[in-house]
Amino acid sequence: MKNRRLMLRACVLLALMASAFAVKVGDPAPGFTSVDSNGKQQHLSDYKGKYVVLEWHNQGCPYTKKHYESGNMQRLQKEWTAKGVVWLTVISSAPGTQGFVTPSQENEYLQTMKAAPTAVLMDPGGSLGHLYGAKTTPHMFIIDPNGTLIYNGAIDDHPTTDQSDIAHSKNYVSMALQEAMGGKPVAAAATRPYGCSVKYKD
């Protein structure tokens, strides 16, 4: 019984992948099941009723480093998870490419960097990345408590690798969460993500 349900879920996932490679703001965010760095299954549906942030990640990418070595990403993770937001970091780097890590390497990294996502989803096959059309690291998505995608794009408005730019950047993720939680429409709901390309298998 459980196997059949799992199979059905896999089929739905495949069907979704075949139909669209990307998601649009205002549309329902496609559901997924993914294994995290602690070996636990994470279902998007588990977080219905909460805001969910998806953050595409590659620890070797200079744009990701900008936001982790400065502590900016960790600051955002702590600030928003403290307010009840679910923060899922996603690693879609294929084995043998930059940013690919084993679960234990990732957990070590989280500890060293004092990162505080809710969970890190291991996506070496790239299916979750393709499902959302993730293009860069970082690439940020926000899903509202109803399961609607409300943000797709960059982390902020300075597409550079310079940490010194962070202080005078507009952080699109914080802006969108603030607006949405305040009952306002998200002004910048879709922006051009910037960074390294996601290192997909194909």
């Binding site: 490679f21 990418c61 293009k135 860069t136 690798t161 922006t191 390294c196 997909y200």
Partner: protein
């Protein structure tokens, strides 16, 4: 002569030699230098300078719109008083598609990014013809293959002043070759318009002749889906090119700007007015 003096003189000589010639700066996976088409500067003229990248095989840098990932090079100029630098003149890019979902726009191999420099009517060094003018650019760029490396360099060149601007023949050749790669304005009689449909933009190119193969490079990010294949449909008077709308485009646009590269031919600057779909 003491050996100290001798070394000192040698150093002075070396310093002078460096100041007169453009320096090729070794960077990661590339050699980069500041070049001038002119070997001397004349008051009131325009000189052509350019940052010359010689990239290692497989490595690339980016166009002004980098596409799905990456970042274009940027230069911060330090020029003699009264001199001003124009915008970078971007040669036609190539499409760099690493997988079906991600397409970038950039350059491989040998790339010259030309920047016109405007010379004031009167230069400070006019009184002393021996003086050389120092031009410097702080260049920042991202170089990628499978991975990306942010790079920067301080580039410089010194040029003498003369009554008449003179060309450096070896540089002039490279500048002339690069200018052929710059997008030009549409030929007289050509016309390009765009129509917005639910999923696509359809570019209608009227050229008075059939176009079999062409490619569009969008200047503004986030309008078209970079990685989607462009469908070209030749017509007796040109072609129709279907471009998939970007998922991050939420509002209607009135103009589609970019570069149209005709296969085997030149590249043209496009500013196509966009007609909205009829609801």
């Amino acid at each position: 002569m003491t050996s100290g003096l001798r070394i000192g003189l040698a150093l002075c000589f070396l310093a002078t030699a460096i100041a007169t010639a453009a320096q090729e700066t070794p960077a990661k996976h590339a050699r980069v230098e500041l070049l001038s088409r002119q070997s001397a500067v004349a008051a009131g003229s325009e000189i052509q300078m350019g940052v010359h990248f010689q990239l290692d095989p497989g490595w690339h840098i980016y166009w002004v719109n980098p596409g799905d990932s990456g970042q274009p090079p940027a230069f911060k100029w330090k020029l003699p008083a009264g001199f001003t630098a124009d915008e970078i003149q971007w040669p036609r890019p190539e499409r760099i598609q690493t997988n079906p979902q991600i397409a970038d726009y950039g350059y491989h191999g040998d790339v010259l990014l030309i920047v016109p420099i405007h010379v004031p009517q009167v230069t400070n060094a006019d009184s002393d013809k021996q003086d050389k003018l120092q031009f410097a650019a702080e260049a920042k760029w991202l170089i990628c293959r499978e991975v990306c490396i942010p790079e920067h360099a301080q580039l410089g060149i010194a040029l003498p002043i003369s009554a008449k601007a003179t060309e450096d023949p070896s540089a002039a050749k490279l500048f002339a070759e690069t200018r052929r790669l710059l997008p030009r304005s549409l030929p007289r009689g050509w016309n390009v318009t765009a129509r917005s449909t639910h999923d696509d933009f359809v570019l209608a190119v009227a050229a008075g002749k059939r176009i079999l193969k062409a490619e569009f490079f969008p200047l503004d990010p986030g309008q078209i889906d970079n990685s989607a294949p462009q469908k070209i449909q030749p017509t007796p008077t040109g072609a129709k090119i279907t471009l998939k709308r970007s998922d991050i485009l939420l509002k209607p646009i009135t103009v589609l700007r970019g570069v149209l590269v005709i296969a085997g031919g030149p590249a043209y600057r496009i500013e196509a007015p966009v007609r909205q779909k009829i609801q």
